[in-house]
Symmetry: C2
Subunit: 333 residues, 2 copies
DNA sequence: ATGAAAGCGCTAACAG
DNA sequence: CTGTTAGCGCTTTCAT
């Protein structure tokens, strides 16, 4: 900027004003400065500007990972969420600082980019069993919006889908297809699968069916999850004619594995997934699944976070959930 | 920092030194300051620090989008690349500033985060037909590493796979399966598909087969691409017994569409994809595809960019390409 | 071992 | 309309 001031024969203050399109500066001068800046490919140093203005238009996005298992980021649901968040943020004129943090460091590392002034708020995808740490951040007034499940005593703003009714929807559909031995795939230690399980239980109960604990198998949201779950299920020797998986990734890998074991889908085993990622529409058989509106979720997360940053209240929301009937669980009922 | 200085009864200079673990400061004083900082959840303002130190550890990552078609970021290949870049960057201790830019603005907008000092280098995923603009940036000494195809007169550092041999590999495999009418799906206006097409042509030629232009269909890397291509192909009424698609996304949506049209894969039509995204291994039929090592690619992009930033030379590289034989094109030959 | 002071690149009173 | 000056939060000589 000093260079430009010298070349234009004015003070840096004038250059600053011109660059910011202040009406105070003479049009001729402004044009001269603007041309000069363009020809030098000069662009205001945002860091210095932020420092001076005490502002910032960068939002942190964190997708945690589990140190033990989840080395790489490959779950299509998470990836799609990331893409949608990028789109939503771009649309609002914010930059996205993306980072991955190990779940066991969430408590300390999550707020670092905020405390150090790099971002003005953080979006976290998933609770990862760190409800308490997230609550502490919210209590500290760190602007934070989390994708996940609503929990009791939740201080932080949470955006999620209606997991209980999602679980109910999926199970009711399977029951309507005449299935009675419905396996449940998902990690009950995580809030979202736990709520979906409640919906699953409720639906069974409504039909007078006892839930068989042998049909519930815990598995992480990983590609190996569906495969391992099927192996476990088969190993237990319990009969089952349907599977409700807590994510489409799990559903797809389970289907692949069932097929490898000679079970036809949906004839022998009907499968319902959760998420409705794009791939579900061209997977074979096309996946029947509980739709989570990812695009809307990303928009909501951004909107909530911006509200929080503005000091406005941002109550948690549960996005409506919807069953998308395709082929993997038999025809529409 | 001023607060801490006051509370600790020292100057900000000492606080700064203590926080940076300078050996110059008395151990007792340092501990007092460190504790104070921890209890206040204080963390150095990175913006100010960067300004003063004239440094920065943020890298820009850009995934362009085509204004006309590609509204949202859903291609699993791109998403996986993004995830891998995030992992590679995190591993090296760099932050990632992610942005989406319309292809028609690449020339001007790509360097903005660099010129404004927000990032010290940029990774661009895909050339998007903007070879010239990318060259100009490189000529301007903007540190930039691009995922794409090597082209004549390329000034920028490019990391890509060996597309010609990839195309050859895929086609040879199909030929070895006895297929002779091989459709090619991909946009020849883009450098990578164009190179893969050269490999395709070379393989056909080696077997004394004339390439039928009716078998080449242009389609963008979108979910609708494979479907539309199949419709076009069927509409042309030309017989075909195989498809080589320029991405797994295209291959999968093409397979879905073929199935909808009553064609069995691989019996009636053998299909080979390109990329080897994770989903290919649990798609049905499991996809035979040309593997692009995405993780290695991300590592290479980061390494190249860091070299460039250090002022070191960073020659372009072509990563080796490999055929992964699964089920969508028949048994292994 | 610590403090005073200057300055990184920018903007906003305040004068003129 | 434009220049002077102070200061955003930090680090680093240079003194002491």
């Amino acid at each position: 900027m000093a260079d430009i001031a010298r070349l234009a024969g004015v003070s840096t203050a004038t250059v600053s004003r011109a660059l910011n399109h202040s009406p105070l500066v003479n049009e001729e001068t402004r044009n001269r400065i603007l041309e000069l800046a363009a020809s030098l490919k000069y662009s205001i140093n945002i860091g210095a500007q932020n420092l001076r203005l005490r502002q910032n238009r960068t939002i942190g996005v964190v997708i945690p990972f589990d140190r033990k298992s989840h080395q790489h980021l490959t779950d299509p649901f998470l990836l799609t969420m990331l893409g949608s968040l990028a789109d939503a943020l771009t649309e609002q004129g914010f930059d996205m600082l993306f980072s991955r943090i190990a779940t066991d460091e969430l408590g300390t590392a999550l707020a670092a980019p905020f405390d150090s002034g790099r971002v003005i708020g953080v979006i976290v995808v998933g609770q990862w069993g760190r409800h308490q740490e997230l609550n502490e951040l919210a209590a500290r007034k760190v602007p934070i919006a989390v994708w996940g499940a609503q929990l009791p005593q939740q201080l932080y703003c949470c955006v999620g889908s209606d997991n209980v009714s999602g679980g109910r929807l999926a199970t009711e559909h399977l029951l309507a297809q005449g299935r009675r031995r419905i396996a449940f795939l998902g990690d009950l230690d995580l809030p979202e699968p736990a709520q979906r399980y409640r919906g699953y239980r409720a639906a069974l109960e409504r039909h007078g069916i006892d839930a068989d604990p042998q049909l519930q198998v815990s598995c992480p949201f990983l590609p190996s999850g569906g495969r391992d779950a099927v192996t476990t299920l088969l190993g237990r020797g319990v009969p089952f004619d349907a599977v409700f998986a807590c994510s489409d990734l799990l559903a797809m890998t389970a289907i692949d594995s069932l097929r490898a074991h000679g079970r036809r889908v949906p004839e022998d085993v009907a499968v319902v997934g959760y998420d409705d990622i794009e791939q579900s529409s061209y997977f074979h058989p096309r996946l029947t699944t509980v739709r989570q509106p990812i695009g809307a979720a990303a928009q909501a997360l951004v909107a909530k976070l911006l509200a929080l940053i503005d000091g406005a209240p941002a109550p948690s929301v549960e996005l409506p959930t919807e069953l998308v009937v395709r082929a993997s669980a038999g025809e529409a009922s």
